[in-house]
Assembly symmetry: C2
Homo-oligomer: 141 residues x 2
DNA sequence: TCAACCTGTAAGCATACTTGTTACAGGTTG
DNA sequence: CAACCTGTAACAAGTATGCTTACAGGTTGA
């Protein structure tokens, strides 16, 4: 069970873009150096964040910006930007409808899974990129 | 992002074992028919549940039992039985320690991820296999 | 005792997802 | 125009998942 590390990388990218000084330029190559991955990975994930409207980029120029204030970008926004599948839990596809259990298990599981996932998402929604940035600063006295 | 369907299959297996009448035998073949997967898959997952102490089995005989009362088997127990990796979220492994963000992002993310995962686990812990069984019956009037 | 049935498990395979890498078209800037 | 940048395709490699066949060995009832 794994949420792919591109979620973490996406948070890292936004932190770098928003934490950079006004004159500092963040090329994908430079960010790749901070993150520890290939620059293509960075550009791919930036594409996802751009499609989700969280950042703006400019082709040909290392000039990325965050689209709105950090306290209005939640961790859930970032997760949904990089994760195509909204469902955390998988349910087997072919239970036997002729069996009393098989006929109803999907429904029962959906209910339980949905409750659990919502709890997690609520927590991610409470945490914003502004919290992340202040966390990064707090740990650097 | 996916929790493997063996979690759902495990819940299905326990439902079948505990829902069966006293004289009914649940062979892995028969359960496979209700679940809609190969019997080897069923036996493999039963092995995980057995290792976790949730069920007992007897080699050579279709005689599986649940080890304790259903209201003391939580969905979290089942998840942990079938899922080896306890961490839901992945963090990139090589952030640059020379970068202020790279040096601290792992710590910050761990904190946030842990909070979110705990919320989900608490919800799974509140739901027991007894709830699942009564859910299965409730939807069958 | 033996035939039928069962479990436990190894091994091989196909598929899908993730990540890394090279390559290149084309925009930007001094 | 040269240097630098983004956006994206294409391919490779590693890993997880699930399917299937095969088989060793336990169980049970006639």
């Amino acid at each position: 069970m794994k949420v792919a590390s591109r979620f973490s990388i996406a948070v890292h990218i936004i932190s770098l873009i928003s934490g950079a000084e006004e004159n500092e330029r963040c090329s994908s190559e430079w960010m790749a150096g901070s993150i520890g991955v290939n620059s293509v990975i960075v550009r791919r994930i930036m594409g996802l964040l751009r499609n989700a409207g969280l950042i703006t980029t400019q082709q040909g120029s290392a000039d990325s910006r965050v689209s709105r204030s950090l306290d209005r970008i939640t961790m859930l926004d970032v997760l949904r930007a990089v994760e195509p599948d909204p469902n955390l839990f998988s349910i087997h596809q072919n239970p036997n409808p002729a069996c009393p259990v098989g006929a109803r298990i999907q429904n029962v599981l959906e209910t339980v899974y949905s409750r659990a996932q919502v709890k997690m998402e609520q927590e991610l929604e409470r945490t914003t990129m502004a919290d992340i940035l202040s966390g990064l600063k707090a740990k650097a006295p």
